[in-house]
Symmetry: C2
Subunit: 83 residues, 2 copies
């Protein structure tokens, strides 16, 4: 893994809320969790959480899929491994 990509992944995790989200999703496994539930668990407003999820997604640490009205986020184990 190149240095700029490593810095991006480390920066994504170097934040209390985001690290909590990531750990939660790792525990949740492949099924993942809807954004709203993550927001409640971590104690962050939905719009704020959304920006955090975008940062983790862009860093390759999590993935998302839409299911009905919800967007389900799950840990990206490949991205984790590279880091």
């Amino acid at each position: 893994m190149l240095l700029p990509e490593a810095v991006e992944a480390l920066s994504a995790l170097a934040h209390g809320h985001r690290l909590a989200v990531f750990r939660l999703l790792v525990r949740a496994g492949a099924d993942g969790l809807p954004a709203g539930e993550i927001a409640r668990e971590v104690g962050v407003l939905p719009n704020t959480l959304s920006t955090h999820l975008t940062i983790l997604d862009h860093a390759g640490l999590i993935r998302s899929r839409r299911e009905g009205r919800s967007v389900i986020y799950s840990a990206d184990y490949d991205g984790m491994g590279e880091l």
Copy 2:
């Protein structure tokens, strides 16, 4: 490792210069390198490097010892392992 400590360690590494310093020290092994040489290798002014070294040290990722006029920094493998 608790979350706040993990965030501190990740934050310390989530920076291009600091990650470069850390990688350099890991490669350098137990002997470590003097601050001045690290500054030259990484291309940072000595005073700026000093603040970065302090951050890495406080996060438990590196150690320092004085040898004459130089201060030698080396990777802290215990701290690495915990993260």
